[in-house]
Subunit: 280 residues, 2 copies
């Protein structure tokens, strides 16, 4: 199972630090707590579908998962979403203090870049390209920009387009980078890279809408504070649950159509996505 491979490799890439190193402890504990590993799983499936046979993609997937983890730790901080629960556990700052949470997040980010810079069996030009792609997905035109919009977007009037733009940055940027990095690692053509990005944008939107739909539900489903988004404007508050469910399905269908055009064989990925979104 891809998920187990990712889990095992994360444990190797994030060793326990020396005694009393609470930053290492926080990084490791948080990253090894069961997550969906959606990004690395999609990446590994996509890369294998495009013919990539070796394990370099597992490490690339772990780097993306570390960036995702770093962003979750930051999102939960008191000055951001001020969340108490994540993945069914107290958030990192509640367990280890705000300073340790911030430092753990920064250390995870740099560890992710280090893992890519030191990827074994991958030519240096490709490593640089992977790095540049991941760095761009974090910056002010990616996760950081999305988080800022998410926190401050509601200061003005917010319409469907503005919320979609926030979702694109907050979820889409890392999804797009992840699937483009999968195509890069598999040595796919420029056209395939572009298709992989487009497909990831659709999957990212579907994923974000599923998250919004669950956030209003019982928190046991998401492992997060129930209704944390109550004060925020999501597509559900703007369009209603039924329309959001319809849009989620549209994004999924578009993703599948793009996958059908992509080089290689993507039945596993399609089956995985069907399975994942079935419960929505």
């Amino acid at each position: 199972m891809v998920r187990d491979q990712v889990q095992q490799r994360l444990a190797e890439l994030l060793p326990a630090g020396p005694d009393g190193d609470r930053v290492c402890t926080a990084m490791r504990e948080f990253m090894l707590t069961a997550g969906k590993r959606m990004r690395p799983v999609l990446m590994v499936m996509a890369a294998r579908g495009m013919g990539h046979a070796d394990d370099a993609i597992i490490d690339v997937g772990c780097a993306v998962e570390m960036v995702h983890g770093a962003s979750l730790i930051l999102d939960d901080l008191p000055s951001m979403d001020n969340a108490e629960l994540r993945r069914g556990q107290p958030t990192v700052h509640r367990q280890h203090g705000e300073d340790v949470a911030i430092l753990a997040s920064v250390a995870l980010l740099s560890r992710a870049f280090q893992v890519l810079a030191e990827l074994e069996g991958v030519p240096a030009p490709l490593r640089s390209e992977l790095l540049a792609t991941l760095a761009a997905a974090v910056g002010s035109q990616g996760l950081v920009g999305g988080q800022f919009n998410d926190l401050h977007g509601s200061e003005g009037a917010r319409d469907v387009q503005a919320v979609q733009r926030t979702n694109e940055l907050k979820t889409g940027a890392l999804f797009s980078a992840a699937l483009e990095m999968a195509a890069m690692t598999a040595g796919a053509s420029a056209r395939a890279r572009a298709l992989a990005r487009d497909c990831a944008v659709q999957l990212g939107q579907a994923f974000q809408l599923q998250d919004d739909l669950r956030d209003g539900d019982d928190s046991a489903l998401s492992g997060k504070d129930g209704g944390k988004d109550a004060g925020k404007c999501t597509l559900i508050t703007l369009l209603g649950r039924e329309e959001v469910q319809r849009r989620l399905q549209t994004h999924l269908q578009r993703a599948f159509a793009l996958l059908a055009e992509l080089d290689g064989q993507h039945d596993d990925l399609v089956a995985f996505a069907h399975q994942h979104f079935r419960s929505t």
Copy 2:
């Protein structure tokens, strides 16, 4: 002047974002506020002394300065040093809010890695090596570890060795990475890289002691809150000012001795260091 070249290039590498992008504004404003630019200046001088003639080293220096800037923004946060002034200005979180400060810091870190990944005129294997070196200097065995020790080291009894270890991580790690990156960029030998690292450790210690000596003085000298370290255990509280001044000179002399062994011609660097430390 190297300092002006760095300043100009930072302005190009950190463009103003779209209207209302407060994260970009905070990054740019903070990074363009006059700093000493100690790390890039030392790097450029060392690389040129080793025969490196082109401008790639300016970009490498800017990347290191962005990481340094990101670490200062984090150090000042309420959950860390809770500082009000930096470089004579209100700290980033006081000007823009804590969330924007954290996001700006994260965006600066990823921008630094992106700049290295996209360095023009530098072969990809060297870019990867530079990246791995910088990432290691940020992580739990570098800046992050140093900041954690600095915040939590005083929880137990603290001796001279423990304080020196914190200084090595907090200042030495980035100084060492900076001068090693200069040697790498100049295509220097493995021996020269190691000498550059050792020299940087000595310069970093001297620099940290100078900072400690100034912190007790008038805040106008440092542009920081005067006496912010009052609650912290520094070498001054453990050894007294006179001994610290003596040690600072010892570190400097060691640095100069190592520079004399380093490939190339380093009179400019020695003159610069003499000038910089003269006022201490």
